[in-house]
């Protein structure tokens, strides 16, 4: 059996090795991330069937929790780790040719560290360890957003840093307060001591957690960094940030709310929060003329949708939310990757600059279209089953208020459809490109795009491949007692 610890150790050690590679080995540096992420993908996939039956608990240093740190490799963790390594793998292939500016070597190391952080967060069973990995994720994001040293990137990175660090500090305060209250850092142990969140002193850490993690997961009033950072980072980084990083924030939030606090009474509020995030995101994207900023705002909207689905709080709803997470990770990274080369060829991020790309870059354009369709939730793409599940789960609650919420959510989807179709029209049916500079993206960029397209269509047609892991993931989130039992066995 493969030990899940390798999922964290492999990219980490690769990141440590990269700076060692001197001038002679510099050329092969860029092949390390795909290799490592490919390895991670294989490991995650091979673990998945076992984990669905029984979660794997890994003791680090040989000490049982709550005394040592443990990894809790449940279905949820493996689902996230699969998606992380998948998207990481695909984006790193794309980066082979795409990343040419700046400190190339450092880019790859930072990239691997970002994914390490993400994987660490989803696998760990210790709240402070989660915080540490959370910081790895955040700091590497700051660095990656600004690493080109361009004006926009630096500005966004510094704003991101201030907000993100403030959020982290809030999380740390919450951890300190919880430690003061319970004297333990293990999530399962903590969960077993929290009977309910109705007491006032417990609610304050919860609020701190929501706010702190909300910054990274881009919940509405806390997401001001997102459009800046996503639009000014290189496209590969935008893809990773949008596809992975913010979802990890959601994961952390869900862990805290569902597993540690079991705070079911906050779920309706969470739903509202998701709804507002969705609407604000979609509205902001609606009249954007910068394509990457538009995609970034759309990410906000999608986060809103995921949070909304999580807030439904039923097994089906959470499955839907997780499905939507997968959808968004695949589709949004596809969108960012395709726009990456379009922008590169067009020399501008304006939507009007992409006009007529459908002819010059046919495959890329088709891929963009498919990504957009999928995000809107049109069949037969992956977005449809996820939307299907979310809608069903909301309606299954049989409540008038929920139907109103749902109507607003779907209104958001309509707005999303409107601006995506606008871009598709611009790409295909507007303007003629005379310049010969615009040509199809290189093979290294097309391969990941094609993989993503195949996945999007494949899962869209046959969503069953995901249902079992989604269902057990949702069960893991809902079944606090089971989690505690497994972790403290």
């Amino acid at each position: 059996m493969v030990n899940p610890i390798l999922l964290i150790i492999a990219p980490l050690s690769a990141a440590f090795i990269i700076p060692l590679m001197g001038y002679g080995l510099k050329r092969i540096v860029k092949f390390i991330p795909p290799l490592v992420m490919g390895f991670n993908l294989v490991v995650s996939l091979s673990l998945a069937p076992k984990v669905i039956k029984n979660p794997i608990i890994v003791f680090l240093g040989g000490f049982p929790p709550p005394f040592g740190i443990n990894l809790y490799v449940g279905p949820l963790g493996i689902l996230f780790s699969c998606v992380i390594s998948l998207v990481g793998f695909i984006v790193s292939i794309y980066a082979l040719n795409y990343i040419k500016q700046g400190a190339e070597q450092k880019y790859h190391a930072l990239y691997l560290l970002l994914l390490t952080g993400a994987t660490g967060i989803v696998l760990t069973g210790d709240i402070f360890n989660l915080f540490v990995f959370y910081e790895i994720l955040c700091i590497s994001s700051y660095a990656l957003v600004g690493y080109t040293g361009e004006k926009a990137g630096i500005e966004s990175a510094s704003k991101y840093l201030i907000q993100g660090s403030l959020g982290s500090s809030l999380i740390l305060i919450a951890i300190a307060l919880l430690y003061g209250k319970f004297g333990t850092l293990n999530m399962a142990d903590m969960a077993s001591r929290i009977d309910s969140v109705h007491t006032m002193e417990l609610f304050f850490p919860l609020v701190l957690f929501i706010t702190g993690m909300g910054v990274e997961s881009a919940i509405f009033p806390l997401n001001a960094w997102l459009p800046d950072a996503h639009s000014s980072a290189p496209s590969t980084i935008s893809a990773i940030l949008s596809g992975i990083a913010i979802k990890i924030g959601i994961y952390a939030l869900c862990r805290v709310i569902f597993t540690i606090f079991g705070a079911t009474d906050i779920l309706q509020f969470l739903m509202l929060l998701g709804l507002v995030t969705l609407l604000v995101g979609e509205f902001s994207a609606f009249s954007q003329d910068n394509i990457k900023r538009m995609l970034a705002y759309s990410s906000t909207g999608q986060i809103g949708l995921i949070v909304f689905a999580m807030g439904v709080g039923t097994q089906y709803g959470i499955s839907g939310g997780l499905f939507q997470f997968t959808t968004h990770a695949l589709s949004k990274s596809l969108l960012f990757l395709t726009t990456g080369y379009m922008i590169y060829r067009a020399g501008s991020m304006k939507i009007s600059a992409l006009e007529g790309m459908g002819k010059k870059m046919p495959l890329t354009s088709v891929a963009f279209t498919i990504g957009a369709f999928s995000l809107i939730g049109l069949p037969p793409f992956i977005g449809f089953p996820s939307k299907f599940m979310i809608v069903y789960s909301v309606l299954a609650r049989q409540s008038g208020l929920y139907i109103v919420f749902l109507a607003l959510v779907l209104a958001g989807t309509v707005i999303e459809g409107a601006y995506f179709f606008k871009v598709i029209q611009a790409i295909y049916f507007k303007g003629e490109r005379k310049d010969d500079r615009a040509k199809e993206a290189p093979l290294s960029a097309l391969i990941p795009v094609i993989i993503l397209v195949l996945l999007i269509i494949g899962i869209g047609i046959y969503p069953k491949v995901l249902t079992s892991i989604l269902d057990s993931s949702a069960a893991e989130l809902l079944d606090r007692i089971g989690y505690i039992k497994e972790a403290l066995k």
Binding site: F128, E135, A143, L177, Y179, S232
Partner: protein
């Protein structure tokens, strides 16, 4: 008085945090904001340490025989605070490097003037 006695450290810790937050909320110079962030960090570190405080406690080091384990303070927060400090240092370094580059680009660090990335 009793309250002060019992809570003086908390007050100190949260006092620092609030001072930091106040700086973050009202200042516009990036360097000052970073300082504010550091102050918040310091406050949090202090808070973590407070959590393990024991009256008349000793350091959790068995450097000589005869130390009473009962009077030792909780060692965990101290381990945590070590990590937390290092993280603070890392963030600070990143922030400063970004500030340097920002100044090179804009010639100012006034964050109310640096808003090219908006809407």
């Amino acid at each position: 008085m009793d309250f002060l006695n019992n809570y003086i450290f908390y007050i100190g810790a949260f006092g620092l945090i609030f001072i930091g937050l106040y700086i973050l909320l009202t200042r516009k110079n990036l360097i000052k904001l970073i300082i504010g962030l550091s102050i918040v960090d310091t406050g949090v570190n202090l808070l973590i340490i407070c959590m393990g405080y024991l009256k008349n406690g000793t350091a959790p080091i068995f450097s000589r025989k005869g130390l009473n384990p009962e009077t030792m303070v909780d060692p965990t927060p101290q381990a945590l605070v070590l990590t937390s400090i290092v993280i603070g240092v890392a963030v600070l370094a990143m922030a400063l490097s970004l500030a340097i580059r920002l100044y090179q680009h804009y010639g100012t660090l006034d964050m109310r003037k640096i808003k090219e990335q908006k809407w």
